[in-house]
């Protein structure tokens, strides 16, 4: 089957290899299944309670361990493979986000908000498989590489003031993890294009062809993420996801039931993305579209007595799904259901355009996180302030664990503050339901890396134990605002500086959802991510801290003024010290008899007759010789210096 070996040419070698690969695929499909590069594409659509719609694209490419497959890839992006090899990355996550995930409306403890709700701007973390001493240097190189790959200023994370090494607040690790965030980074198509280049079909075919730029960038939330895991045993897996929250264009149900409740817009794929889905990317192993209906709606349908099929009394889907999946959960009687469409059944002639049409006005809500977390600044002026972190209970624990009031809920706070926000960690104050509490009552564990001027950001990792009965809690930390050198201000200095989002994790709450598998051979990556153990997380707002500015136009004035004052001090003090009044009087007497050169000149200019100089011009000639010597000396010194500095 294989072509005759002709190992002289690199090109022919490559050809040979791909032929061999193809051959092996043909020969032993099942045996080589593990060893093959795979690509899958999936799209999840979900109506959101506030008349918006969520669309989540997930593309997974995987490559077998490099030792087995060599350096050549056919669907896996080579750039990523080289990146992993070069920097010995074991895990990496890079996200570009515009807008903020609305935890109250869009849900706080489902897999979507846990995994794909990201802080605004760029967030990058990576864990390395390297000795600890080499990690910082590798991180710096990695940031530069990524910034080249994604056309973004990720290289700003290179500076040691921009990244930190959390130990347990972000993700448990042994010191090989680095975390950095750029809250101000703007995200646009220039970041999307290189991201699409990593896909085998780009946006020319398959699900990615729905990425119509005007519609995805006009959304309320846009988060583009690359997650990479690599290990010796299973190779490299990259998950490229794009999560957008869109406002559907049409209100077809405008006139329906406008009297009671909120009208949900009916929408279709065409409404959201301005195009229909016409077939899958040919190299993809599987290509599916899911439509997820939240638990709350499913409950309502069940209450009305009908089965939660694709057409019921609340809504109708335009196309019959290929499968309906229901969440497996022993604790919940009912849970969200997924309607699955296999894109390979559709083509140009019969494009897929799923639409949902609501029959009744409906109010529902998504499962919130145990606490709504907000962060804000207190104080005015440009000298100092406080950061406050507030927790508002959503009483989720009562639904989950019953209503016992003597329990407590763990929350881990992870926060990085740039060095110019000088936090006084001793000023930590905790108020629970408005009453001040001792730190030791609430804080179980705290780890602080204080910030170092122009060197290190401050990192705060804190494990809180909040009582279940509490309604709200507020943590506050005082800080002083730093003063920067004029070169350190960004071009728009008066806009202020951003403090990256804090991350609050609730380790006792899990967002995983598992659905029954019908196909044992193939697991959908999307459902797999849903099933993974996901701790509930919430990112807080980015804070904007205005810092005071010096006058940027003044450096020369400041330098000259300051130096003048110092020269004044120096000169006048030296003058006061060396002045001898007695001698001055004597000198005065002398000059009265002996005229100097200047009075002589003045007298001449005035045309007065000058007395002949006193006889004995030897002092004058001595003076001139001295002067001459001085000039010669200076000239010699200058010449020597010049000679030495030239040679």
């Amino acid at each position: 089957m294989a072509a005759p070996p002709s190992p002289l040419h690199a090109l022919s070698r490559l050809l040979l290899l791909s032929l061999l690969l193809l051959a092996s695929v043909a020969a032993a499909a099942t045996a080589a299944a593990e060893e093959e590069e795979e690509f899958t594409e999936e799209l999840l659509l979900r109506p959101l309670p506030d008349i918006k719609a969520l669309a989540h694209f997930q593309f997974r490419s995987s490559a077998p361990p490099s030792s087995a497959a060599g350096r050549h890839h056919h669907v896996f992006p080579k750039a990523i493979a080289q990146l992993v090899q070069q920097f010995h990355i074991s895990e990496l996550e890079l996200s570009f986000t515009q807008g903020r995930w609305n935890y109250e409306q869009w849900g706080g403890s489902d897999p979507m908000s846990t995994n794909y709700a990201k802080p605004p701007g760029v967030e990058l973390w990576a864990a390395f498989d390297l000795p600890l001493s080499e990690i910082d240097a590798t991180w710096k190189n990695l940031t530069h590489t990524l910034s080249g790959l994604f056309c973004a200023s990720i290289n700003f994370l290179e500076s040691s003031t921009a990244f930190s090494a959390p130990r347990w607040g972000f993700k448990l690790n042994e010191g090989n993890l680095r975390y950095g965030a750029l809250p101000r980074e703007a995200v646009c198509t220039e970041n999307l294009t290189p991201w699409l280049k990593l896909l085998p079909c780009r946006d020319k075919a398959g699900i990615a062809s729905l990425l119509y730029r005007p519609s995805i960038y006009k959304g309320y939330y846009h988060s583009q993420k690359l997650k990479l895991t690599s290990s010796q045993s299973f190779g490299i897996i990259i998950d490229q996801t794009l999560t957008v929250v869109l406002q559907p264009d049409t209100f077809r149900a405008k006139h329906l039931h406008s009297t009671d409740g909120q009208l949900q817009p009916s929408w279709s794929i065409k409404d959201l993305f301005n195009r229909k889905l016409s077939g899958k990317c040919l190299v993809s192993k599987s290509s599916r579209v899911f439509l997820e209906i939240e638990k709350d709606i499913v409950d309502k349908i069940d209450k009305s007595g009908t089965e939660a099929s694709w057409t019921n009394e609340l809504f109708v889907l335009s196309t019959a799904p290929d499968r309906v999946l229901k969440k497996l959960n022993s604790m919940d009687a009912q849970s969200s259901s997924l309607y699955e469409y296999d894109v390979s059944n559709y083509n140009d002639d019969k494009p897929l355009d799923v639409s949902i049409t609501w029959k009744l006005p409906l109010i529902w809500s998504c499962t919130p996180a145990p606490y709504h977390v907000n962060r804000f600044l207190m104080g005015s002026g440009n000298e100092r302030g406080s950061i406050a972190l507030s927790f508002r209970s959503t009483n989720l624990h009562k639904q989950l664990f019953g209503s016992s009031n003597d329990c407590s809920i763990k929350a881990v706070v992870f926060q990085v503050v740039p060095w110019y926000v000088k936090v006084y960690y001793h000023s930590l104050q905790i108020f629970i339901d408005g009453n001040s509490k001792a730190i030791s009552e609430v804080v179980d564990k705290i780890h602080v890396t204080p910030s170092e001027d122009k060197l290190l950001p401050g990192t705060l990792e804190m494990l809180l134990r909040l009582p279940c009965s509490m309604e709200s809690a507020t943590l506050s930390l005082d800080f002083d605002k730093g003063f920067l050198h004029i070169d350190e201000y960004p071009p728009d200095a008066n806009q202020g500086f951003d403090i990256p989002s804090a991350l609050v994790t609730f380790p006792e709450f899990n967002s995983s959802r598992s659905y029954p598998e019908t196909d044992t051979l193939f697991v959908s990556p999307l459902l797999q991510t849903f099933k993974e153990d996901g701790v509930v997380k919430s990112y807080t707002e980015v804070l904007l801290v205005p810092l005071t500015t010096p006058d940027f136009s003044m450096p020369y004035n400041v330098i000259t003024f300051t130096c003048t004052v110092l020269a004044l001090y120096f000169g006048s003090l030296l003058n006061a010290l060396r002045r001898r009044i007695g001698e001055e009087e004597r000198e005065l007497k002398k000059t009265a008899t002996k005229r100097g050169l200047i009075p002589l000149l003045i007298a001449k200019l005035r045309g007065k007759k000058v007395d002949p100089p006193p006889p004995g011009s030897s002092p004058a000639s001595l003076m001139s010789i001295k002067l001459l010597l001085k000039v010669v000396f200076v000239a010699v010194v200058a010449a020597t210096f010049h000679y030495l500095s030239n040679s």
Binding site: E452, L484, H485, P550, F561, T562, Y569, L577
Partner: protein, 487 residues
Amino acid sequence: MAIRHYWSMAAAAVGFRLVLVLFGGDLHLASRPEVSTPLTSIRRLAEGYWLKQASISPYSGSMYHGSPLLLSVLGPLTNKRSFGHHAHIYCSLIFVAVDFIAAMLIRATGCRLQIARNRSLKSLELTEAVGNSVNRSAGDIASLIYLWNPWAIVTCLGSCTSPIENLMVVIMIYGACSRLAPLAAFGYVMATHLSLYPAILILPVCATTFLCTLAFIYLIMSAIYLDSPLLKTVFFFQIILLLGYGPDTPTTKLFRLKSSSSGKTDISNKDKSSSSRDVQQFSWKQVFYFILWMLFWTCYVLLLSSIILNKVGGLQEMFEKTYGFILTVKDLSPNIGVLWYFFAEVFDFFRSFFLIVFNTNIVFMVLPLAIRLKHRPCFLAFIYTAIVAMLKSYPSVGDSALYLGLLGLFANELAEMQFTFFLFFGYIGVSLLSPVMHNLWIWRGTGNANFYFATGLAYTCLQTVLVVESVSSMIKHDRKLRLLVTA
């Protein structure tokens, strides 16, 4: 003549402070840029203490830059919060006591200076000519100035650590004036440990001792060639020396100076030269003791520091974070000086150059001043303190309060100083304008950094005028005495 009601006035000053501390509420003085600097701020100290309690080095991060000794003394007090009062009330109470002790030591120093002055005037038989015209009790004046100085009060209420630094400088001067080598050495080592700059106060000591020996060689020569024509000038010189030596005393130096001056008086009284030699040896012994004690205290302080920092950091880190921080002006937050704005604006490639220039500027004047004013070591110490307060990297009004207090010690000598009116109202004007400009710039956002910097410039100019004027009027005063003697 002693000041009437001295004790009631001193008690009133202390009472005033106590009233403000206990009932003044939180005046937020601890975060005023005029009061607390990154080196002396009590909030930073509290942060350092908190870090140390959390088994992290207090110097990790850029918060704390003070001494580990202060950390263990004041740290526990910052922990106790009492509601209704301001956060660091216990520290403030300590600082009230510290201020009082410092004022008492200034008074004692003043008394010694007064005695020395009277003695020298007497020996010169100038008591009638000079003494009666101006003879106020300088110690009382100085200590009252220190106690009632609004800046000292504000510093005390703002509970930053500069009262302690001031106390150490005062201890050093007092110890030197009263020939207590261990005390002087203790004050010197502690002051240097706390804020580095008082280190230059040793230089007058060394320089003056050296000059002193030269003078003695002169004296001996004059005694030998008693009948030579040289005698007249030498004698003249001796008198100048002794005039100066009388009223003044620097750190350890002053005994030597005093003893040497007394030796010279002997000589001028045509005593034997051997006696002067004895005196000279005696003073060397004092210097020797001083150096020994200094070494001892240095070792002691370093040992204590390393014990306190044990397991959380080392001495190396301490030096980097305290002295290194002082010398490299890393913190650019505004203060009443000029260097913060200078280094916020200066181009990066000039930074090291100007750092060197500004730091040597402080040291540069030490030697010329020591040469000219060697006979007045105590005055020299005052001038050095003023120069340091003017040129140090993180100045505060607490430093000014110290040198203004010391200025009172020379009330008699500087009675004819010029520009006092201008200086007095200049100081008042700056201390009123500076907070206004700061408020406009930082809090209201309507002003500009340049306005605040301008008050800093004006303040530096005022201090320059004060230093130059006091030096030149002291020189004039000496000349007047000399004229009186020769007349």
